[in-house]
């Protein structure tokens, strides 16, 4: 009985996540062991590879590194990667906003099916994503003869790379915005409309500011995947140096030619992009979390 008040004060302590009682927390040795195991695992699988990219990139010195990233073929690969992202990112972002508007603001039959269909590209192996476009537009494909007659090239050319990348990154923004807009409801939009705003004004002045962080978050993830996609792009690209090589494909070619330092130099640019993505993602999460707390 005498322990009872002590238990009460414990339960009322303001830090429920860090209970002091031994029955509510693991013993210190176990805490240390679990923390060490977790950090060891993350260190081995995440930190060590990240360090390796830069160590290998500079293994032949700064001169080789600078030569590798200023090589005209490397620059062409960077340009193509940026071009592909510049097409697929806005296209998928616009689609994501439209899909989220229809799905979050309206009730209609087949909605669950539509949401599942939007997720489909995440379930498709990148290689299969490339293959489906080869089967449509390749020389042996359904539209192959027609394309040849009209002297158009999609496979082993830039349009194929754009198509495959857009397919792979299709769900990112929609996935982020659908739950967000469902949670926000339509009351603010309805109020704006009843005050005489047009539909477009309502979207721009009310909805867009409300979803801007979520939209940015989706775009950051979408962009990282678009610039880094390898499997799907490698099937449709044809690996033509300086013409259809994206940066990840450029890394592969250099690596297979035993130009390890140059391959890792190009890879380090992609690793920097990944780090930038993680930083932006964190900042956005932090800001979204703050907004949720304030609300």
């Amino acid at each position: 009985m005498s322990t009872r008040p002590a238990d009460w004060t414990l339960a009322a302590a303001p830090a429920p996540r860090a209970p002091a009682s031994s029955a509510l927390a693991e013993p210190p040795w176990l805490r240390r062991l679990l923390t060490a195991a977790a950090l060891g695992f993350l260190g081995l699988f995440l930190v060590l590879p990240l360090v390796t990219v830069f160590a290998e990139a500079f293994s032949k010195g700064v001169g080789v590194y600078l030569d590798a990233i200023s090589d005209p073929i490397a620059l062409a690969a960077v340009r193509l990667t940026l071009l592909v992202a510049a097409i697929s990112v806005p296209a998928n972002a616009a689609f994501g906003v439209a899909a989220a508007w229809a799905i979050a603001k309206f009730e209609f039959r087949g909605k669950a099916l539509l949401v599942t269909a939007i997720d489909l590209p995440f379930a498709v192996s990148p290689v299969v994503a490339g293959l489906i476009f080869v089967l449509l537009f390749g020389a042996q494909g359904i539209f192959g003869p027609w394309l040849r007659e009209h002297d158009l090239k999609i496979i082993f050319a830039v349009p194929g790379i754009v198509l495959a990348t857009t397919f792979i990154t299709f769900p990112f923004v929609a996935r982020e915005l659908i739950p967000l807009m469902q949670e926000q409801g339509s009351e603010e939009e309805e109020a704006a409309l009843s005050l005489g705003a047009s539909g477009w004004q309502t979207f721009r002045r009310v909805t867009l500011p409300n979803i801007s962080l979520g939209l940015l978050y989706g775009i950051v993830l979408l962009n990282a995947r678009a610039m880094g996609e390898f499997g799907a792009v490698s099937v449709v690209s044809g690996h033509i140096r300086g013409v259809t090589n994206t940066l990840p494909l450029h890394v592969e070619i250099l690596y297979n030619e035993y130009q390890s330092a140059a391959a890792f130099a190009a890879a380090s640019l992609l690793a920097l992009l990944a780090l930038l993505t993680l930083v932006l993602k964190r900042i956005l999460e932090w800001r979204m979390g703050r907004i949720a707390r304030a609300a």
Partner: protein, 279 residues
């Protein structure tokens, strides 16, 4: 289509854009694959899908994916637990780094893991004298797939761990349950749907993975050749029928996994909301 009248405009436009874009970019191209597959004779289809080389590739793909997802389930639970429950310097950094496999292009992951684990690499140098060869073996495939699947279990478990009501733990402890018993009987039943979902997500991603594996696997047919690589090889040999047949099989399995994961998530959220109402 419309069942409840909404005063908001733009339903026709946005749904129209969504359906057209989805159909042109995703549904019709996928249908093309099935159409092409249906035009194959049964003999063509099965000789590609059930050849010894293809069977070995499926075995490796599914076996290594299962092993990698299992490692991630165990270590992901430990990582998520430590990140949610404990406070230590560098926790925020460790938490942010968990997403690295999502952000790092797979080709970069592939060449990096290979150079780490090759005989001359930082890790390979240590493991080689112990008789453990990782690069260019099935073990290497599993390592690459573990890297790729790492965030899934952690990120599905974290919100569930965060939302666990501390009162039920306190109740268990006050009734005299040991910490281990509390975890096993009180906490784990709330965690396992998320754990299984994370496992399934990591597994599904691993089955289709290509970029991170092709460098470390060595690509020996029948030994270290994964199913997606076999599709690429068939394509490079202009064996469109074979590539299509194997791709269709892989795709059907992936869709099955997607449906299973969706069902699991619904089941998990029902359980959670049920538990929330009860408390």
């Amino acid at each position: 289509m419309r069942r409840r009248r909404s005063v908001l405009p733009g339903f026709g436009l946005t749904l129209g854009v969504t359906l057209v874009y989805l159909s042109l970019l995703v549904l019709l191209p996928l249908a093309g694959l099935f159409l092409r597959s249906a035009s194959l004779s049964a003999g063509e289809f099965f000789s590609a899908v059930a050849s010894p080389r293809a069977l070995a590739a499926y075995r490796l793909s599914f076996g290594a994916s299962f092993a990698a997802a299992s490692v991630n389930a165990v270590m992901g639970l430990v990582v998520a637990w430590v990140l949610v429950r404990y406070r230590f310097p560098g926790r925020g950094l460790a938490d942010a780094l968990v997403d690295l496999p999502f952000a790092l292009p797979t080709a970069v992951a592939g060449i990096t893991l290979t150079s780490l684990l090759a005989k001359t690499g930082w890790l390979g140098r240590v493991l080689e004298p112990l008789g453990i060869q990782v690069a260019y073996t099935p073990l290497g495939v599993a390592v690459a797939l573990t890297f790729i699947g790492l965030p899934f279990v952690v990120r599905t478990l974290q919100p569930v761990l965060q939302d666990l009501d501390p009162e039920i733990e306190e109740a268990a402890a006050s009734l005299g349950a040991s910490r281990w018993l509390t975890f096993r009987r009180v906490l784990f039943p709330g965690l396992w749907p998320a754990l299984v979902t994370g496992f399934a997500l990591a597994f599904a991603r691993a089955v289709g993975e290509y970029g991170s594996v092709v460098f470390i696997s060595g690509n020996m047919p029948g030994r270290t050749e994964i199913a997606p690589l076999l599709i690429v090889t068939k394509l490079e040999q202009y064996d469109y029928a074979g590539a299509t047949a194997i791709a269709t099989t892989l795709l059907l399995i992936s869709f099955g996994l997607l449906l299973g994961i969706n069902a699991l998530q619904r089941f998990g959220s029902h359980r959670l909301s049920g538990a929330g109402e009860a408390s």
